[in-house]
């Protein structure tokens, strides 16, 4: 028994170490880029065109990921301060300010190595207005070419032919030529198709991992743990062999937990009994990520589904990258990202999660920085409450600004929320008896 425990702990470690190594290798490749002559493109997580970049041997750099990494390493406060000192408003997105502060401080990435300047700013304008401003600012700082990809919003909750054509035409006539110019390579559609085929394979496994939370107890936390699971596929690795291998291994690991009837593992170890099953909407806070997670874990609250794990692509609705329609599939991927969905579609998705994952309710972590997520969340909360009959909870924090994480306040609300669920259950049980 003991031995088995040990080997399983090692297994868990192996997927995490694997991811860590992948990321470290990527960052050091980036750091060496100025010597090796490899070219890099800065781009965003939602609507990232990783397969396309990879088909040109362009290395992706994701400023959002750099910002959240800075926050987890306790650097964001100083970075944000620097940006505000330079005239950026306290009202606006702290990812942007953290990134600018980092740039000003030497652009040192999470592994302690300097990140290369961009050879291309791939402005995939997907689901977030701020992205456009962000790269306008970076363009002035770096004097790098910008490839603008305007991804239309699903205002009416669907992707029309006109929208698809608009994105495909931009890819073909603007984005691909820009990549050809920067990389010095010609567009190689066969290679892109290979990448896309590997994406689809990894996406199958990712969906299996996320949907494992339907089990009781759930073997994963689909929010706090979820951000690790989406890591490779949301960033530089979609379409790569490493990603395929990672997701195979991760899936096997999670399936083993299901077989053993285990709950999620947290940074503080195995979680206690599952008391609450929660659906969470909104990004996490990164500056106090572990503390935030602990507030859930200590109460026995497991997140069984989250919308944040869909910002870099929604796959649990059946969408897969389709190698037979390379540009169309990229267009549909971009337009299908969570923050590119309209509010009614987002409400539908959350209602489905509460029901299919048999959750106790929806909790919203409302993020000051992110209007794309946050504007309208109070209405969404009411809609989901009304449609599911399950109680909703609401907390507020920020992405990477530690000034907006009030631990006492959040803990207070979370505990009230969990106790409310418990009390409601007791009430229902009492009435039923």
């Amino acid at each position: 028994m003991n031995k088995k425990e040990e080997s399983k702990a090692a297994q868990k470690d192996s997927s995490q170490i694997r991811q860590k190594n992948m990321i470290a290798a990527h960052y050091s490749r980036l750091a060496r880029a100025p010597e090796t002559g490899e070219k890099c493109a800065y781009t965003f997580v939602p609507g990232n065109l990783t397969e396309l970049l990879r088909s040109f041997d362009l290395l992706p750099v994701l400023p959002e990921i750099n910002a959240l990494q800075s926050a987890m390493r306790g650097k964001s406060r100083d970075y944000i301060r620097l940006a505000e000192k330079a005239g950026h408003s306290e009202d606006v997105c702290t990812y942007v300010k953290c990134d600018l502060g980092m740039m000003e401080s030497g652009n040192i990435g999470p592994t302690g190595e300097r990140l290369p300047d961009p050879d291309l700013l791939l402005l995939s304008y997907t689901g977030c207005f701020t992205f456009m401003k962000w790269f306008e600012i970076l363009r002035e700082e770096y004097d790098a070419p910008v490839a603008m990809l305007h991804v239309p919003y699903q205002g009416d909750g669907e992707i029309t032919d006109s929208m698809r054509k608009y994105v495909v035409d931009q890819l073909r006539n603007k984005v691909i030529p820009a990549m050809e110019k920067v990389s010095g390579r010609a567009y190689d559609e066969d290679r892109l198709k290979e990448e896309l085929a590997r994406s689809a394979k990894a996406e199958d496994d990712l969906v299996a991992v996320l949907e494992s939370a339907r089990n009781k107890p759930s073997p994963i936390d689909a929010y706090f743990g979820g951000v690790y699971y989406i890591g490779p596929i949301f960033t530089a690795f979609r379409g790569s062999e490493e990603a395929v291998g990672y997701y195979e291994a991760l899936r096997a690991e999670i399936e083993e937990r299901v077989r053993l009837g285990k709950g999620p593992i947290t940074p503080d170890g195995e979680m206690g009994p599952e008391k609450y099953r929660i659906v969470v909407e909104g990004p996490p806070n990164w500056t106090s990520f572990r503390e935030f997670w602990r507030m859930f874990a200590e109460e026995g609250a497991v997140v069984v589904a989250s919308s944040y794990t869909k910002v870099g692509g929604v796959y649990d609705n059946g969408f897969r990258h389709d190698p037979s329609r390379p540009l169309e599939t990229l267009a549909e991927y971009c337009m299908g990202c969570y923050t590119n969905l309209n509010l009614p579609s987002r409400v539908d998705m959350l209602v489905r999660y509460v029901e299919e994952y048999e959750a106790d309710g929806l909790l919203i972590n409302s993020i000051k920085s992110c209007n794309s997520f946050s504007a309208g969340q109070l209405m969404m909360l009411r809609e989901v409450e009304n449609r599911t009959g399950k109680p909703g909870g609401f907390i507020e924090s920020d992405l990477v600004d530690p000034r907006y994480f009030s631990a006492a306040n959040i803990k207070n609300r979370l505990e009230s929320y969990f106790q409310m669920i418990e009390q409601k259950r007791a009430g229902v049980a009492a009435r039923g008896a």
Binding site: D91, F129, I137, G155, R346, S372, A375, G376, M379
Partner: protein, 390 residues
């Protein structure tokens, strides 16, 4: 006192723009039986609505005297004010006279408001109007044309007239006529700002969001005649400033008055921007739909909501400063306005590079106190006058 007295016209305009009952809109509907379609900032193709027999009605929030009861329930404290008051107007019945609402692509808050509208008012037309951020005709142009065609058919499904090219051409002409007068008033303000006080101009333009364009055109004519005839308006020693950042949520009228009283002539601004969004007339020949699309692609004002490529940020503003002979720039943005506030540092850089003095502050549409702004603007105006005297 003649009917053309500009003060009286301004008073009437203020009444119209403060009227939450939208009496003029209701009357228009009774008269014509057409659809009244509300729109949020900044830009919608009013010509198209007009050609289909609809009345475009600009909704720029609830201003400073609307009490927010339910609107705040929809938004966290870190979100700007305009969507709260707009929802309040929706929920308190003020907007019942509208048959639909258009939400142009301007920022994520207004974008998401379109979804709230769909959920809250499922029976009304509510449409997010995506506008291209890529300006090649075969890319953004094609897409935008398609967006407009979809809008036109949706309007038709709701009972508007089908879109006929000749009607659109005529509407373009009607709006060109209006645009020419709008330009004339603004040009007059640049030349003789004492003749066209900004508080007056502002309420006039606000009334123009609600009135049928033909009435607004007549009103502008009347106003221009009145102002030209008014001998009592004499120049004062004020600093000429350009106001920018107020293109969506509007500052309270009191703020505009405060700036003027503090010694500023506002000689250019981006308030009520839709009247001036297109810089020139839309050509009245050729395919009118093409012309409408092309005008948006090529002839729009620079705005933080619009992607600016290689040209670089702030150049247009510097040109506008020169064109209006402004002596300084006031960045005057609503709190939590992403487009304005994210843009500001870039534009400030351009303004500084051009050696133009600037200052900045924030507001909310329902601000009630202007003391700090009065002091700041007064100091700014004084420093400008001091320097120009040297």
């Amino acid at each position: 006192m003649s009917a053309a007295d500009p003060k009286t016209l301004a008073e009437r305009s203020e009444e119209i723009y403060r009227d939450y009952e939208f009496t003029t809109v209701r009357r228009w509907k009774e008269r014509t039986g057409g659809l009244a379609i509300g729109y949020m900032p900044i830009y919608v193709p009013r010509e198209l609505l007009h050609a289909q027999g609809c009345l475009p009605v600009g909704i720029l929030g609830g201003g400073d005297d609307l009490e927010i009861i339910r609107g705040d329930a929809f938004y966290q404290s870190y979100i700007c004010h305009i969507p709260r008051s707009t929802i309040e107007l929706g929920l308190n019945g003020s907007l019942d006279c509208l048959d639909g609402m258009l939400f142009p692509a301007i920022c994520d808050v207004i974008r998401n408001l379109s979804g709230i509208w769909k959920l809250k008012f499922p029976d009304k037309l509510s449409r997010y109007l995506d506008v291209p951020q890529v300006f090649e005709p075969e890319l953004g142009g094609m897409f935008y044309r398609h967006e407009l065609e979809e809008l036109a058919s949706e309007l038709e499904r709701r009972g508007a007239k089908p879109l006929e090219p000749e009607a659109l051409r005529e509407s373009i002409r009607v709006f060109n006529e209006n645009r020419a007068l709008v330009r004339e008033v603004y040009d007059l303000r640049i030349r003789e700002p004492w003749k066209v006080p900004s508080a007056e101009l502002y309420v006039l333009m606000r009334a123009g969001l609600v009135l049928p364009v033909e009435e607004f055109t007549a009103m502008l004519r009347e106003y221009l005649d009145g102002v030209r005839a008014d001998e009592d308006r004499k120049p004062m020693d004020q600093a000429r400033i350009l106001l920018t950042g107020s293109f969506c949520e509007q500052p309270p009228l009191g703020l505009i008055k405060t700036l003027e009283r503090a010694g500023c002539y506002i000689v250019d601004d981006d308030l009520v921007q839709i009247h001036r969004w297109l810089l020139h007339d839309i050509p009245e020949d050729g395919d009118p739909m093409d012309r409408l699309v092309q005008a948006f692609l090529d002839d729009s004002m620079e705005s933080p909501t619009r992607y600016i490529d290689e040209r670089g940020k702030g150049k247009e503003l510097v040109e506008r400063v020169e064109g209006s002979r402004a002596e300084g720039v006031i960045f005057c943005a609503p709190s939590f306005c992403d487009p304005a506030l994210l843009d500001q540092p870039m534009v400030v850089k351009a303004v500084e590079k051009a050696g133009i003095p600037w200052t900045a502050f924030k507001y909310a549409e329902n601000n009630g106190q202007f003391q700090v702004i009065r002091e700041q603007a007064g100091t700014f105006a004084d420093s400008i006058k001091l320097w120009s005297g040297v």
